[in-house]
């Protein structure tokens, strides 16, 4: 079965073999000296196939990167706040890019408002060692937005109720 994936620049086709590679690596790479050999052996492919297909997927952005993802809390980042902003709709792209470029902002998104209960249309996750430090970072964002900050709030997490690795395909 072929899955057609639409990219911004051009179309890219991932085939059944790519799907098998994704399935075999989505929960992590094997911790052995030759991890791509292990994936290849499991799928009955050559190691060159695995490496070249993964390289192609990386070039096309299907693989964002191959890397380690640390747990924020374990590294001492305990002040993780979701800052939310009410900015003029016609400015959201321009302002979002500025906020997203700040080094302490990990994710920055434009999301829909729900008036009157939820006026915020720009979300920016800030990461700091504690809550006070996070609030200072939020002040920095407010200063950057200036008059376009028509109201904001910060939501800190009290408890993780569920956290699972995302299953991409099964």
């Amino acid at each position: 079965m072929m899955t057609k994936v639409l990219l911004k620049q051009h179309d890219f086709i991932i085939d059944n073999i790519d799907n098998q590679i994704i399935r075999a690596t989505q929960s992590g790479l094997p911790l052995v000296p030759r991890p791509y050999h292990e994936v290849a052996e499991k799928l009955g492919l050559s190691v060159n196939d695995v490496i070249s297909r993964m390289q192609a997927m990386q070039n096309n952005g299907i693989i964002r990167r191959i890397a380690a993802v640390p747990n924020h809390y374990a590294l001492g980042y305990k002040g993780n706040g979701m800052s939310v902003w009410d900015v003029p709709a016609e400015r959201v792209n321009e302002l979002g890019k500025k906020v997203g470029a700040l080094e302490f902002v990990s994710h920055c998104y434009h999301r829909p408002r729900f008036l009157p209960e939820w006026p915020y249309n720009l979300f920016a996750m800030v990461h700091a060692h504690n809550k006070d430090e996070a609030l200072l970072l939020v002040d920095n964002i407010a200063a950057l937005l200036g008059e376009f900050d028509r109201g904001h709030d910060v939501l800190f997490s009290k408890r993780i109720l569920k956290k699972t690795g995302m299953r991409l395909i099964s």
Partner: protein, 147 residues
């Protein structure tokens, strides 16, 4: 976690090579043995200092759908609603946040249609309004946390 663990985490956040013996290449860069790198990496994953290690796939490019959803849950119903929301495999994360909008979950589904189906199911079962806030645009740079 010691200085070497920190170095390993910082280096591996940057990326990992697509070569036949990638751990050996990274170990060389760190000035350690491949076997030390592998055992330290296994430990960092086991004690959950690292949540993942491997390729990060862009799920949307693979045809999946995502959304962030908020609910204002009355405190006395919180546990009951948590149980309802967490019962779906498609709910990848769920956070209790300090706000009137106190429950925030992330849906990851194979199709956009499924997002709407699960949200209306949750509304029906909880009797509460869900606020579906899918991203309209992303201003993504990506953060590196210094270990």
């Amino acid at each position: 976690m010691d200085e070497l663990d920190r170095k390993i985490i910082n280096v591996l956040q940057d990326g990992f090579p697509l070569v036949e013996e990638p751990y050996s290449e990274v170990a060389l860069q760190l000035g350690i043995n491949e076997s030390d790198l592998l055992s330290r990496l296994a430990m960092l994953l086991k004690d959950k200092t690292l949540t993942r290690f491997g390729p990060m796939y862009d799920a949307e490019k693979l045809g999946g759908a995502f959304s962030l959803v908020a609910i204002k849950v009355p405190e006395k119903e919180f546990d009951k609603v948590t149980e309802i929301v967490n019962s779906y495999d498609e709910v990848a994360h769920n956070y209790h946040r300090d706000h009137e909008f106190n429950m925030w979950y992330v849906l990851a589904t194979e199709t956009p249609k499924k997002i709407a189906e699960i949200n209306s199911d949750i509304e029906r079962r909880s009797g509460l309004k869900v606020f579906n806030m899918p991203k309209l645009d992303e201003y993504y740079i990506g953060l590196k946390l210094t270990a």
